[in-house]
Amino acid sequence: MGNQSLTVIGGGLVGAAIAYGAVRSGIHVRVLDQGDTAFRASRGNFGLVWVQSKGHKLPRYARWSRDAVTRWPALQQELLQLTGVDAGLQQPGGFWLGFSDAEMKARCALLENVNQHGGEVPFEIMNRSKLVQYLPGIGQAVVGGSFCPMDGHANPLMLLRALHAGIICRGSEVISGVEVARIRFDSEKQEFETFSGDGRSWKSTRIVLAAGLGNARLAPQLGLNAPVFPTRGQVLITERLKPFLRYPMNKLRQTLEGSVQVGSTSEDVGFNDGTSTERIEWLARRAVTTFPALAYARLVRAWGALRPLTPDGYPIYQESSSCPGAFIATSHSGVSLASVHCFVIGAWMSGMAERPPDFGVFNGDRFANSK
């Protein structure tokens, strides 16, 4: 495989994790990344390393998420040792919070359903008085919650930096400021050539499209289908506070640095990654309802980011049949899935491992009729 080379288009969390995984499989990788003002869903990731309730409509995805959180500590350790960058993984278990009995009932049914289909995700439904033992200071409006001991969180930005540093440490390259215009496949030479808008080009024997929203445009050039569309998520970030929250919650977490993140909206606003005062105020109200003491925390930043969503919300992982050696990877869970993107997808897409079993469900062809 000495003459094999891989181009990864996209240096976000998905692209960087796959690229790093490919590098550690022994292949030379070139990551083509955009510049300073790219959309970068990675920068708007909420940072949960999460499994509870994942894949309730797709059991394979529940198992995939479960594998991911199980293998995260290995990634965290490896990156820390190699690069000195702490991706901030903490896995104390995590909570989903319910604000009505109806919500609690639906939640319980949903989590049971995941496990009836082989999810093997432990969970516990807690009433308010039990919840308070774990989350002192929780607001009156919270009636209960579900706890999963496998859940946790990490720092998406440090993870991204660690992956980039890891790729470079191991002798591969990240080229920043590249806007990919088109990709050509030479079937005789089994070679891909990627052209940037400013006239540069790079050749490789393999290629991975991990360009987030850019995948929608690039996939058809390689006989693939990725009808991803942007969903805006707004997030609030407070000043650093002394540690007071031991557990991450689905809508609120305290980072290792001390900031509290409050998330997240889900809006269909096209390619507008701005913020809106109505949503900021809504998130602020929800945060204070959840933890009344947060009333006196200061908001430092509100953030809007565009998540690349597929029509059914599940990822796309696929090799092109018309252009063998070309792969696509699209997921909006770049943090939760980072470990398997690295250890499993990276090895597969670099040609060092077979496709993982039962992965046909993640083919982009399932959206053949969607636009």
């Binding site: 200071g137 929780i138 002394k242 007071f244 200061r298």
Partner: protein, 107 residues
Amino acid sequence: MTTNALFSIPESSGHDMVTIAFEGRNLTVPAGISVAAALLSNGVSDFRSSVVGQAPRAPYCMMGACFECLVEINEFPARQSCLISVQDGMRVRRQLGASAINIKDEL
């Protein structure tokens, strides 16, 4: 701790004065001035410790932009002392590191 004051306010006489407490010490200062000015003219040279490195810090810009002048005022953490006027009876303390939020169990 406190040292010789970096500043003084010579024209104090003739002003209305108020008394504030800085970490238990009473300071009598002209009404209407900022908490930062009151502390700087009363021997307080470091206002807070930084969040990351716990290093001593003090006002740098005096116009509300740098957030170096943060102190605890009447138990509220991390107030901008350069933007807040002294009030009689105000209790001021150094801001040590990040703000703490006050969790009260709502059972």
